[in-house]
Amino acid sequence: MSLYQTLYFMSLVGGMAGLFSWVLVALVSMVITNQPLWVSDLVSATILGAFIGGLTVGFSDHWSGNRVLPRWVISGLLIGMAAGASAGALQIPITNNLAQQAPVLTRLIAWMLAGSFIGCGLGLRWAGVNPARVAHAFAGGLIGGALGGLIFAGLSASVPDLSQALGFVVIGVGICFGVTLAPILLRDGVLQFVSSGDARAQSKLGRTHKEWEIQQGDSYVIGSQSQDLSRSRYRPEIDVFIPDSAMAPRHAILLGKGGRFFLARHPSASDQASLARYQLRVRGKTVVTSQELRNSDDILLGRTALRFVTRKDK
């Protein structure tokens, strides 16, 4: 899946999460009675966070070509819930002190808080690759929340139900758009899938022209290890997953450092047996330790060909 396709579909996933959240919030609000004002907001933000967190992780893993692990989906759901609940809790004193004087502003703040916190929770997934992604996700969620809040505050008087549902959809779209767009905008390079001799890799990645955005400061592990074998609770251990049987579970590492990019063998695939078994070539030359990458370099990992494109030396 290309970067723009990923952006498009992830935004739709956010919208879908927002719509489902709205339905659940509407059902739950029929049950909640005799509670302070903030309870409804806390519940709404928590449900929204849970849906966005769970669905984002699920679809993101599905499109990465790897297996969707229920464990990670549940982790995403719980982190989203916690982020939403934190935003709801932080909103309580703001509502208490500001709602009477500035109701519209209070509403906007509530939506922005929910968006930014949930975005931040999602960004944690990629904190291992690049901690700056948390900040990007936070900013994306903030903008999405502001848009959702504006729609809700602006339309609620004239189109009830639709305003809230649309607000939820927009905040979901905004959060996921922001979380996905930030690394695309800030990318310094792109790793493109060209083709693979492995039918599975070709089938999963070839049709959609899969691309991975690369940023300076990032560190990507490239490999064929299925997520079934992953022991982490939230983020994937393999950042660039290629289901090629001729690749090592952890084949190589792509590093962006000091304005330059390097491709190195993963330490676990650097012994003599692995050197003989697992191919790693850049511009046709075998890489034994590491190799600096330049624009339009062809990379061969196992039976899979990738192309590295960077704007640095274009």
Partner: protein, 482 residues
């Protein structure tokens, strides 16, 4: 047994002699005794309704002398304004006893037992003993059919335990026993005023919500000092400006009427803090004044006008994102006129508005007469339409739009039996590669095309004959039967 509160004429005596003598009844107003609450009157009406509670007070906040008309007339003499739309309530009742409808009343009294309560007054009795006497007078008119009262001591040790273990007495004897059982203030006790307010309101809210129907609630806080928390007191007690904010917020959000009473030396009482916690602050320096204030508090609790009004909006969802300013207006037949200040009902910032309760039987009957059951098909169908509308939009964006934008990725795909999709191509696969097209899978046998073109049409005489291949069948492996 005494009624807790008798006729409203008695109220005037208490209030007039009490705090603000000489104030004209004409300058009175309606004062909100609770925050406006959104209630459901389903099935009488699908419209969300607001329940409003008022005290009739003079300009200084003391109860007014009123001969209120019977409930059926009272409704006609009241008007409310919701978001600048004038609406008459469909239900109004003066809860003042004496034959009028009296609903439940719940009171929580927090009594400061810090060390300074042992100071002797001019009467020779300590502040604590004087407070006990005033409390006994407060429960003197206890009506066991409707009243529940809890008297809870607080200082700076085991504050949460003491307040959370409050028992709301349903009998006068039990209430008097609670007063008798108040522990004598210890010399090392400090005053966890803010924490007591927050915890007390939690207990009061819990008690109110566990009671069916609409009850009148009040919290009275009596102290002779200010919030003082030191080392050796309970951990985590509220203090400083943040603690004061927390206490004031708790009062504001609970909606319950809170009365603060400062008793003793005015110099040692943090009047500003008590006024911040609640607008209703009273100061007493002697026994008589304290008793008067308790009488006054009792009157405010027992003499309320409850009005229920149907909102102009057809359903709960229509209140989303709204801030509704509410005012009320009472015009008595004798020409006197009372107006309330504006109080705003706030919808949640993100979520859908939730009901604070349900209308009781009387309200439902009244709603049925005045605002008969009505329901629009749009009200029921609107959320469903919104869901399916937005759902359809998302489906179109998911399945159809990408085929237009990234059309090359969708050409030549077909659904496979096991789920997912596959691509096939013609025998010209190699050719396509040469032309820079993406390689694709070979087409299944029998589906080969020339350069991706369509299959030639079959002649009517052509037949498909399936030749069974038993070479891999188990039948073949069976030993021949003789």
């Amino acid at each position: 047994m005494f009624r807790w509160v008798c006729r409203s004429t008695v109220i005037s005596a208490a209030s007039t002699m009490l705090l603000m003598p000489g104030v004209s009844a004409q300058s009175g107003k309606l004062e909100f005794a609770d925050r406006p609450r959104l209630v459901s009157c389903d099935p009488s009406t699908t419209k969300p309704c607001f329940r409003l509670k008022f005290n009739v007070v003079d300009a200084q906040g003391a109860p007014q002398s009123l001969n209120l008309p019977p409930n059926q007339d009272l409704r006609g003499q009241m008007k409310t304004t919701l978001d600048n739309q004038e609406i008459a309530p469909f239900f109004a009742v003066a809860q003042s006893g004496g034959g009028q409808t009296v609903r439940g009343r719940v009171a929580l009294i927090l009594v400061d037992i810090s060390g300074s309560m042992n100071i002797h007054l001019a009467s020779g009795r300590t502040r604590f003993q004087t407070a006990q006497e005033a409390l006994q007078q407060f429960v003197e008119g206890f009506d066991e059919s409707v009243d529940r009262v809890a008297i809870v001591p607080f200082e700076s040790h085991n504050v949460a335990d003491h307040i959370n273990s409050a028992v709301f007495a349903r009998k006068k004897a039990d209430a008097l026993a609670q007063i008798e059982a108040l522990p004598v203030p210890g010399p090392k006790n400090n005053t966890a005023l803010y924490s007591a307010v927050v915890l007390g309101l939690q207990v009061l809210t819990k008690e109110v919500s566990s009671t069916p129907g609409s009850v009148e609630a009040m919290m009275i806080l009596m102290t002779d000092g200010k919030n003082e928390v030191f080392k050796g007191d309970d951990a985590g007690l509220l203090d400083g400006p943040a603690g004061l904010d927390a206490a004031a917020n708790a009062v504001r959000t609970s909606g319950a009427q809170a009365i603060c009473i400062g008793f003793g030396d005015p110099g040692s009482i943090d009047e500003n803090a008590l006024r911040t916690i609640s607008g209703k602050f009273y100061m007493a320096q002697d026994s008589e004044k304290l008793k008067q204030i308790f009488t006054f508090a009792r009157t405010l609790l027992a003499n309320r006008i409850v009005a229920t009004v149907a909102s102009p909006w057809p359903d709960r969802s229509s209140l989303e994102g709204r801030s509704v300013p509410i005012t009320a207006d009472l015009r008595l037949s004798d020409g006197r006129h009372f107006e309330s200040d504006s109080q705003t009902w706030q919808a949640p910032q993100m979520g859908a508005p939730t009901f604070d309760g349900k209308c009781d039987v009387q309200e439902l009957k009244a709603a049925l007469q005045v605002a008969p059951a009505e329901g629009s098909w749009l009200t029921t169908l609107r959320p469903v339409l919104v869901f399916f509308g937005l759902g359809t939009l998302l489906l179109v964006l998911w399945f159809w739009v990408p085929r237009l934008v990234w059309s090359d990725q969708y050409i030549g795909t077909f659904e496979t039996q096991g789920g997912g999709s596959m691509r096939w191509a013609s025998k010209s696969q190699v050719l396509e590669k040469d032309q820079g097209m993406r390689p694709s899978r070979p087409a299944p046998p029998g589906f080969e095309t020339q350069r991706g073109g369509a299959q030639p049409p079959r002649a009517p005489g052509e037949r498909t004959v399936v030749q069974p291949d038993f070479s891999k069948s188990r039948l073949q492996k069976r030993p021949p039967q003789s």
